[in-house]
């Protein structure tokens, strides 16, 4: 069995952060950090070198879109799942154009989260 993939959770709501921490499949992922803003995410990304990032879009101090560009710059191989409310599809599409690989709509349940994360890292 391979080591679990390191996951970084980025969301300004601690309710959502806890939900993702609880809801993921811990045979595949291990949460190494969580950040409440884009700026915090970049800092933790440098330290923790995660394989997978879950990314909110609307956050204070650097939004998700900008943060994705930074992270992809630091590691083009990182897998990013955008987890956001579907207020504007165009913004979601931009996140994927910047290098994220998937989009999960808020609100979500544990099963949807788990399936989306699995799909994200499937080769």
């Amino acid at each position: 069995m391979t080591a679990p993939l390191k996951m970084l959770i980025v969301d300004d709501s601690n309710v959502i952060r806890r939900k993702i921490e609880r809801g993921h499949d811990d045979t595949i992922f291990t949460v190494v950090g969580s950040a409440a803003s884009g700026a915090e995410a970049v800092e933790q990304f440098n330290q923790l070198q995660p394989d997978v990032v879950t990314m909110d879009l609307t956050m204070p101090q650097m939004d998700g879109i900008e943060c994705i560009s930074h992270l992809i710059n630091l590691n083009p191989e990182v897998k990013i799942l955008v987890i956001s409310a579907l207020s504007d599809k165009s913004t979601g599409i931009e996140a994927l154009e910047r290098g994220a690989q998937g989009f999960l709509t808020k609100p979500f349940d544990d099963q949807k989260l788990s399936e989306a994360l699995k799909e994200l890292v499937e080769v």
Binding site: K89, G92, I93, L96, L104, E122
Partner: protein, 699 residues
């Protein structure tokens, strides 16, 4: 490797066989050609042997005839020697194989003859040649003329006797060698013919095999094409492929062009397909979304929620000259192609039915919510109050109906009538929102909006009144349904109260509760805080008409106090008042029997400047004369129909009717109305009604 050849196995074998045959024929050809060349040398030399037998004899005779020691004799001896040596060496070469001298004096290799006939001829020739050979050797070795002639004699006589025989043997050898050569050439011809025939057969096999294979493939291809066409023509979805330039492929389902009103869609761009149906911004979003599917690292299953084309409205002209509206849903999935060349399969589904169902469901839900709200509001309203409300409502409706029936002829009479209707509807709305009967209030609000819109028009036509009649009809129907429910509930509560023998007073104590509720609700809507203190209401013994009037007056004044007088909490605190305002409603019966109702609030009181400003803004009065008006005269304005100092329209204020109605109703009751206000401190409205008996006599 063998299996890797797959369907090409047969053709590879055939070609290998063809090459092998060719190579074999060529090799044999070479081999036999060389043999034939050898045979030709043999035939040639055998012929020479024939000639040499004769030349030997001729030389012997030439020596015999030549003068002793003459030049002719020497030449003849030389010739004899040459003939003898050539014949001997060639015979030995024929017999054992080896070298001899060729026609041009070159060394020639001969193989030993192998055919029995040739071997026999050689053996016999050798036997005849050996004695002659010995005698010729003696001639050649003779030292003197004597020795020469003594050897010449027996040689000539032996040659004479055997010469023809030897010639005939050499002839046989030649014939035999010739016949061998001929048969070799024949073999060569057979081999060549056979080889070429086999090659042709092989070639034909390859050809037919290929043609057969080609025909089978063509048939399979055609069948596959037909299947695809059938599938594409049968499916009820629109199917097509998009390439990376977002251009449609040449194949698509028949349904697709039907969906787009028979448009030719092969090879056109995606924007040409849907550009007319969606806004340009949505088209751009859609194109960017499809673009994501061409990014190999994006997971196509994880972006479905971003698809902007799940409900595209399409208006298609129909036979009757109108338009029919359809809703299309586009689904995109990535199709992996060769060499990472992906395409996107687009499935267009007609979702009109489900969109319609969803809408019906939403409407149904709204309806049932409305019914639920109706039921809840009925249950929350004290039955006697509700009954009175419904009665008043029907009174108002019949008044409105009278006005609507009698459409005025002149413009001014029209607008007067509209104003009359407006006052009725507005009052009804006020009563409804006081009782929290929100559905009534909503219906009345829509009615009011349309009346106002009609009032702003220059020309009012019959159609405008028709629209108002529809509103009235809706209100009547809804009121009837509420009445029906209320009666059912009342009969139920009568049955249950019969058993418990509830005292009559029970409903009296809650009879005025709705005023407290009204105060709370209006305050909340106005973002203010206020409490209502009611005194003397339960003690008063009122007849129905008076109670109805007191109720309406209370509603109007409490609302006025909250909207116009009570300040926002911050402002109250700044004025050193309690953040929560206070409204006192007092009802008492005077010793004279008169009934006095006073509504007092501790708000800002009447703002005369505001009344003046609003009056000026309305344009009805001259600004300069307004400046000279006394406060009392200004106060009179709040009883003018259509006058309001509220900044915006709401359920509680802003339409400017209410006060004039109150005044006319109080007057109808022979009552008096008094207003007193201290700016920034308080405001009080007092109504004095004559003793009830007198009132009923007057009414």
């Amino acid at each position: 490797m063998w299996s890797a050849l797959g369907k090409y196995r047969a053709i590879v074998v055939s070609i290998a066989l063809f090459l092998f045959l060719d190579a074999s024929v060529l090799t044999l050809n070479f081999y036999i050609s060389f043999k034939i060349a050898d045979d030709a040398v043999g035939v040639n030399l055998a012929g020479r042997q024939r000639m040499l037998t004769q030349r030997t004899v001729k030389s012997l005779y030439a020596i015999d005839n030549a003068s002793v020691k003459s030049e002719a004799e020497a030449t003849a001896i030389n010739e004899l020697e040459m003939s003898y040596q050539l014949f001997s060496s060639t015979l030995t070469a024929f017999e054992q194989g080896g070298y001899t001298t060729g026609a041009a004096g070159e060394q020639v290799e001969l193989k030993a003859v192998s055919s029995p006939k040739a071997i026999k001829a050689i053996a016999e020739a050798k036997e005849l040649w050996q004695p002659l050979s010995k005698e010729i050797q003696q001639i050649l070795q003779a030292d003197s003329e004597q020795q020469l002639y003594s050897a010449l004699g027996p040689a000539i006589s032996y040659a004479n006797a055997n010469n023809l025989k030897l010639l005939s043997l050499m002839n046989s050898l030649t014939v035999e060698l010739e016949s061998i050569a001929t048969s070799q050439a024949q073999t060569l011809r057979y081999i060549q013919t056979g080889g070429i025939s086999l090659a042709i057969v092989n070639f034909l096999f390859i050809l037919f095999h290929f043609l057969g294979e080609l025909r089978t493939n063509d048939r399979k291809l055609e069948a596959a094409r037909q299947e695809t066409t059938e599938i594409l023509n049968t499916v009820s979805e629109g199917l097509f492929l998009l390439d990376e330039d977002l251009r449609l492929g040449n194949q698509h389902s028949g349904q697709l062009s039907e969906m787009f009103g028979g448009k030719e869609v092969s090879g056109i761009s995606f924007s040409e397909l849907i550009g007319d149906l969606v806004k340009s911004k949505d088209l751009e979003t859609a194109e960017r979304f499809v673009g994501l599917l061409f990014r190999p690292n994006v997971k196509d299953n994880l972006i479905k929620d971003l698809n902007p084309l799940t409900e595209v409205e399409l208006n298609i002209p129909d036979k009757e000259g109108g338009y029919s509206t359809r809703y299309l849903s586009f689904d995109f999935s990535r199709v992996a192609g060769e060499e990472n060349k992906n395409t996107v399969l687009v499935t267009v589904t007609d979702v009109t039915r489900s969109v319609e169902l969803a809408r019906e469901l939403a409407e149904e839900k709204e309806r049932s919510e409305q019914q639920m709200e109706t039921l809840t509001s009925i249950l929350h309203t004290e039955p006697k109050t509700l009954k009175r409300f419904i009665q008043d409502a029907f009174d108002s409706f019949s008044k409105i109906n009278e006005v609507l029936k009698d459409q005025g002829r002149t413009d001014s009479s029209m607008s007067r009538k509209l104003n009359e209707i407006f006052v009725e509807v507005h009052n009804f709305k006020g009563d409804a929102s006081a009782l929290e009967l929100d559905n009534f209030a909503d219906l009345a609000n829509r009615f009011e909006d349309d009346i106002q819109q009609t009032l702003t028009k220059n020309k009012v036509g019959g159609n405008d009144f028709l629209k108002l009649a529809v509103h009235l009809e809706n209100l009547i129907r809804y009121t009837e349904s509420v009445q029906e429910i209320a009666e059912k509930l009342a009969s139920f509560s009568v049955m249950s109260s019969d058993n418990k023998n509830t005292p009559k007073n029970h409903s009296d104590s809650s009879r005025w509760q709705h005023l407290t509720k009204l105060c709370y609700n209006v305050a909340e809507r106005e973002q203010k805080q206020a409490q209502l203190v009611i005194t003397g209401f339960n003690e008063a013994d009122l007849d129905e008409a008076t109670e109805s009037l007191i109720n309406d007056v209370c509603i109007q004044f409490i609302r006025n106090a909250l909207v116009h007088s009570i300040e926002k909490p911050e402002l109250r605190e700044a004025r050193n008042k309690n953040a929560c305002g206070r409204i006192d409603a007092r009802l008492c019966t005077m010793p004279s029997g008169e009934i006095e109702l006073s509504i007092h609030d501790d708000g800002a009181g009447i703002n005369y400047d505001k009344i003046r400003d609003k009056a000026a803004a309305s344009g009805q009065w001259d600004q300069n004369s307004l400046a000279n008006w006394s406060n009392k005269k200004l106060l009179g304005l709040i009883f003018e129909p259509g006058f309001s100092t509220a900044d915006k329209l709401s359920n509680d204020a802003g339409r400017g009717v209410g006060m004039d109605v109150i005044r006319s109703r109080v007057q109808a009751h022979n009552g008096r109305l008094k207003i007193s206000s201290r700016s920034g401190i308080d405001c009080q409205f007092t109504i004095t009604l004559p003793p009830q008996k007198q009132a009923s006599a007057a009414a």
